[in-house]
Amino acid sequence: MHKAAPASTIGIVALLMTARLAADGPLDHDEVKRLRESGQILPMSQVLEAAYRLRPGQLVEAELEREHDGYRYEIKILDAAGQIHQLELDAANAALIRDSDR
């Protein structure tokens, strides 16, 4: 039993981590970089290209959120008319999921 204790501790920690990872919410930029380097998500420049094709303008904020089925970019673009557009794109293939204005 003595040896089980560390194992269970690791298990709990792993469980806690999974729980944290599974939780919805924005990821920090170091995690984003790791995900990108591991190939799980596209580089943001490619996602941005797709977003700019839909809404030309200037990037003002981006967030990467974990969903139960993958990762989702939330991108805010300021267009030439001064309007902010909020787009949601699939981080794995840059496909549009939601456009706040449509």
């Binding site: 970089k33 904020e61 981006a62």
Partner: protein, 443 residues
């Protein structure tokens, strides 16, 4: 390149292109240098701000008080980035770098460097890198800014400068062209004078031109004067010679006619004949010198100016016989014929016509097929058919007096020949007397 204007344009164009190119290069360098220096000083301040908020934990992980950062370092791909790299420890990237990274050079504590590197989405970054020692650990702080917006503005300015330079160059060349053309129009007075000189309206060129060509004009004027004097001298000499030999010739003639002179009649006639010829040559030269009058070298003949005077002169010479000379001048302006030659030719023909006319002489002057056609008719007795045939026939020496008519036409013949012209005689259908027709090619 022979055109003065072309040379001026080339010279000015090359100088201006060099000057404007140098100014453009200097402006370009100064602008970029200033812009970079401005950005770098700001980056340096940001780096100092970061250092103030920076701490390194014992395991080498850099940490920063987030409240000390401006939001631009949090906004992804904002163009403002920083990287803190602890030697043998952790790294800290600004959130703005997002999924990208920068690899600043490693610097020892106390060293700084300026570094250029490409950034996310094709940004061109200018970075300030400094080596520090914080909490006992060596680390490098790199703060970078995207220069693209600034370069865009600078490029716009440089394009404007280049456009202005090209327009300015074109304008300056245009102005020079105008100046050169204005200068050359000032030469017009000289051109006009040369034309007037050709027509005999003036004897020298105006000195009212650009100072640069004044020496040339003065030299030409001196030359013209010298030619004129030379001509005058030779004319005077010919006149003097003719006058001088007339006296001795008269003496010779008288002595030859003296019946007391013991000489065979045939010889006497032959000698007298030769003396007559010499006498006529002298007469001709004298007449020539008198008719020449004023006027410079190579003065062209202008019928409208000369003929009325000539007609009046001849009427006076033949007074008291009332001779009416009818002039029909269909020419305009000066003709390409020497004034003296024409005066001599016309003077002789008209003089002859007046001599034989009862009261009327008709004189027509016209141009046909590039030839001047002269037609002089009188209402005198005219010539017999044989005499006409004799004076118009080939090889007839016109200076020999034609039976009883005294047509001293050798000068006329000589002048017509010198112009490769033709002369013909016929009976005048209009006035009944002699009709002389002369054809002189022009130009």
């Amino acid at each position: 390149m022979r055109s003065l204007e072309g040379r001026l344009h080339l010279g000015l164009g090359i100088s201006l292109v060099l000057l404007i190119g140098a100014a453009w290069w200097l402006g370009h360098e100064a602008l970029h240098h200033t812009a970079d220096a401005f950005v770098i000083s700001r980056l340096e301040h940001d780096a100092e701000g970061l250092l103030g908020a920076l701490s390194v934990s014992s395991d080498g992980t850099p940490q920063i008080g987030a409240e000390r950062l401006t939001p631009v370092y949090d906004q992804p791909y904002s163009g403002h980035y920083f990287v803190i790299s602890v030697a043998g420890g952790g790294r800290l990237r600004s959130r703005s770098l997002w999924d990208e990274d920068l690899q600043p050079p490693t610097l020892a504590a106390g060293r700084t460097a300026v570094w250029r590197t490409p950034g996310p989405t094709e940004q061109r970054l200018l970075a300030w890198v400094g080596g520090y020692r914080v909490d006992g650990r060596d680390l490098v702080v790199a703060v970078a800014e995207d220069l693209s917006p600034l370069s865009g503005a600078l490029m716009g300015f440089e394009r404007l400068f280049a456009l202005m330079a090209v327009v300015g160059l074109a304008l300056i060349l245009l102005i020079q062209r105008l100046v050169v053309h204005r200068t050359f129009t000032r030469l017009e007075s000289v051109y006009r004078d040369i034309e007037r000189l050709e027509r005999g309206k003036t004897v020298y060129l105006t000195e009212d031109g650009p100072t640069e060509i004044l020496p040339l004009v003065r030299k030409l004027n001196r030359l013209l004067l010298r030619f004129d004097q030379r001509l005058e001298r030779s004319r005077t000499a010919a006149g003097n010679l003719a006058h001088g030999i007339k006296g001795p010739l008269s003496m010779l003639r008288q002595q030859l006619r003296d019946p007391g002179l013991n000489i065979a009649p045939a010889h006497r006639e032959a000698l007298l004949d030769q003396i007559e010829r010499l006498y006529r040559i002298a007469e001709r030269q004298l007449k020539r010198a008198r008719l020449a009058g004023a006027g410079g070298a190579g003065v062209n003949f202008e019928a409208a100016e000369e003929l009325p005077t000539l007609a009046r002169l001849l009427t006076q010479i033949h007074a008291p016989k009332p001779v009416d000379i009818q002039l029909d001048d269909r020419t305009q302006g000066p003709l390409e014929l020497d004034r003296e030659d024409m005066l001599e030719l016309l003077g002789n023909l008209l003089d002859n016509a007046c001599k034989w006319a009862r009261s009327r002489v008709c004189f027509e002057l016209g141009i046909e097929h590039g030839c001047l056609i002269l037609c002089i008719e009188d209402d005198g007795p005219g010539c017999s058919e044989e005499a006409l045939a004799a004076i118009t026939g080939r090889g007839v020496r016109l200076d020999e007096e034609v039976s009883g008519h005294g047509l001293g036409l050798s000068i006329v013949k000589e002048i017509v020949d010198s112009y490769q012209g033709r002369i013909g005689f016929a009976r005048s259908a209009r006035l009944g007397g002699l009709r002389a027709e002369v054809e002189l090619p022009l130009g």
